[in-house]
Amino acid sequence: MEATLTGKMDNTVAGVANYDVLVIGAGIAGEESALKLADMGFRVLLIEKEPSIGGKMILLSKVFPTLDCAACITTPKVSETARHPNITLLTMTEADSIVKEADNRFSVVLKKKPRYVVENDCTGCQECETVCPMVVKDQYQFDLVARKAIYIPFNIANPRVALIDIENCTLCGACEQKCPSNCIDFTQKEEQINVTVKSVVVATGFKLFDPISIDRYGYGKYKNVITSMQMERELAPTRPFNHILRPSDGKIPEKIAYIFCTGSRDHTVGNPICSQVCCMYSTKQAQLLMGALPMADISLYYINIRAFGKGFNEFYLQAKDMGASYVKGKIASVSEKENGNLLLRYEDVATGKVTESEHDLVVLSVGLLANPAITKVFKNATLEMDALKYIKQTNLLQSPALTSIKGVFVAGTATAPMDIPDTIMSAGAAAAETSGYLNQWS
């Protein structure tokens, strides 16, 4: 058990490691909270269920409205987090149970899933990938391309260490033979790690809406209807293809449509609120597409343009100037033509007429949803949710990081949809709140 905890162990109490804070989730919110608390001198245990930290942000192409590349601004934070002397980082790790014993003591049972690769020895050479015979859909490229059963999640993953998708592995051992560092270990098992912490920060992020539940948009049926996250990957520097392609035939699209509010502002799918970031990320993608495909027409079908933040309105006007066509009208349905093109049916509010338009690629601007699984982990206290299943902020305006459990704080999109700067500020607030809380007992 001790071997996997690479941070300071000098506070072991009866064989159990002791930390000031457990931060659950190492996306941008978890990283920011962890970094601030670590800078203040607290001992932080940061856990992440994925094999790499960086959350959703590290998978994005560029960010609005500055068009900085997402990787450029995430990697320094990721890097700082991974090497901070006060942060112990565990990937592939989830909290299985958290029991509150006192206001400043929580007993936590962590479960660390096996990589079947010895982390400290893997050099990230990727030789194993070249010999693995199993080809599987790549979830980090949102199923646009495939990966092997043994793989490094993505180019800029941190830690840049391989793992085996054991469910799709035939145990042929080809990787074990090829590995120059001899670090493949099929005998690894799930580990249980017990720790005690004085406080918890929940930074578990959001879920992306899966448009399969909107039958009339044809996602999953029509090949050329993709999600915005798939388009994000096509645009990212660590992209799956060398160009923007459409899935059915690999053609470079010329008439791209965006359908806003897919899964948001929609009672029929159980999400009546606005996801806050989609108008802007769609505008960003439109700008990037106009740069990459100068001959393409981009049409964005919207209800309202939520361009409310600093620089947002200017960014939206810039996209219009660049030639993006914003059409007010909610898309009612999508149908497919024989050549893979799509027909979008909607009421064009400007003319008041029901219209159909043809496009060769449709991007669904999917919304953000709550990710409430963490509430089940707290065993003897209730981590309350609000009506939309986000973590409830019990003193919303006065102390936004407080939850229904004393000593447990919340940061980022675990509370509500928000963009990157708002997430960073929410995480800073959670760090301030946690620090003030911990200072009570020192």
Binding site: T66, S79, I273, N313, V349, A427, A429, G436
Partner: protein, 570 residues
Amino acid sequence: MTKKRIGVYVCHCGGNISDYVDIEKVKEAVKDEANVYLLKNTLFACADSSQKEMVADIQAGELDAIVVASCSPKLHVPTFRGVAERAGMNPYNYVQVNIREQGSWAHSDNHIGATEKAILLVKAGIARASESEALTSSKIPAANVVAVIGAGVGGMRSAIALADMGSEVYLIEKEKNAGGHVANYGPLFTTDITGYELAANLLAEVKKRANIKLFTNAELVEKKGSIGNFDIQVKTDRETLPLHVGAFVINTGFDSYKPAPGEYGYGEAANVMTLPEFKKLIDNSSDKLIFNGKTIKKIAYIYCVGSRQDDEGDNKYCSRFCCTAAIHSSIQASKKFKNITNLHFNRGIRTYGKQELLYEESSKNGDIYLQFSLKSIPEISQKGGKTFVKVKDILTAGKEVETEADLVVLVTGMVPRENDLLVKQLKIPVGRDHFFNEIHMKLRPVETVIDGVLIAGTCQSPKNILETMNSSMAAAAKINSVLTKGEITLEPTLAKLNPALCTWCGKCAEMCPFDAIVQTEYDGRIVAKINEANCKGCGMCTPVCPTDAIDLAGFTNAQIEGMIDALAEN
């Protein structure tokens, strides 16, 4: 030129550079420059794996210096200085070359030119690194004391957070009372608490904490020093106090846009009022809504007044909070009074996030929404003692609609507060929208380019109360994490004086605003000496020396002229 082993890294920046600059050409052109020992290109120089590689390269190659050609130094200087330190190299032997903001992006219309410029910039970086010297930072004690300017709800929250984290706080408020705008608000949106209650709660928390000193009727009138050690003067109505602080958190808030006379009839007709005026009216009315002796039934709201002035006007930004605030007020009006009809003349409703539920509620209440564009804004007219609002409604394909209204509410946005004295004192940078400017919108939203001056709340940009709280607490967390260490590391790029050349003319001492030049004895004569504790590294003393005896470390004659020679090459 000094002989050195230099590692040069040219970054693709994920395409941001490599899409415009031919990286291979750059490498080809610089590979034979003097002192280039190692030359690599990277997809993302700042990525962890690249950083690890650099550390390994420095150690294996025993490199004396590295040059990273990538983005603006504003972004990653600390990152790569960290790389140098971890590799055992002095961080001041690392040189950053900007071939993105001042290369590929500035010249994205000219790939060939951008490549040629990148080549010369990298050569200049190599020249600079060839003459770089190891510099050691000194540390000075830092006061864990923060001056929070503004005691609105944001400022009070910053103060409380700082106090709980162990900082001493001076909370400085210009007005007679703390609480700012919010103290005058009744019901607030997305919560049950009222503005008065929120402000009162926060003030009670402030008063509970012995390490927050609240000054009202107080203003900052003087400031000297730098992060960790500022000496300020605060003028109250009774005295002027000298205080010593380590940093500032600016929470000076916003002002409400005041419509120009005649704008939608404001100032001409009594029943045309701003949203804050309307909110006050409904908060202070119970049972019946009466204005100027008339019972109010029909209320017209005109949105985006003073914001989103796309064509003319200074305020191009969206004020973010007002769609929600206006709709919330209309819901309040419907709840409290009978027979209210709300008509919302808007340019697209921006009730983002969970606030969308308020838009839904108001629609269910029977509120009517009409949308206009800047090409045909609503016309307000007075006919026979009645007020009419006319508009071409986008939602009904441009149909012209006219309605009577008892009240016209102009949904006014936020404007930056007039703060000339404070801006002058602290040199707070101001953005294109006239709000205070953060270093980097995405990465560093609460810091400014001035070390020790942080900005939070609406003085940075329009936002609602929840966002102000997050921003204020984030600023508190940031500055506390710096000051709590008890010491600040100074930049060692200070002036260096060669006493052998000095003839003590006194010109440098005259120039220095920081008392950093003193007299000393050397070789039997009086010469100048730099007092490093006071030296700020500005370089003001360097051009005036008649014998050119002073150089600024990191910007020496050898370095600058080496760069000039490289850039001048054809």
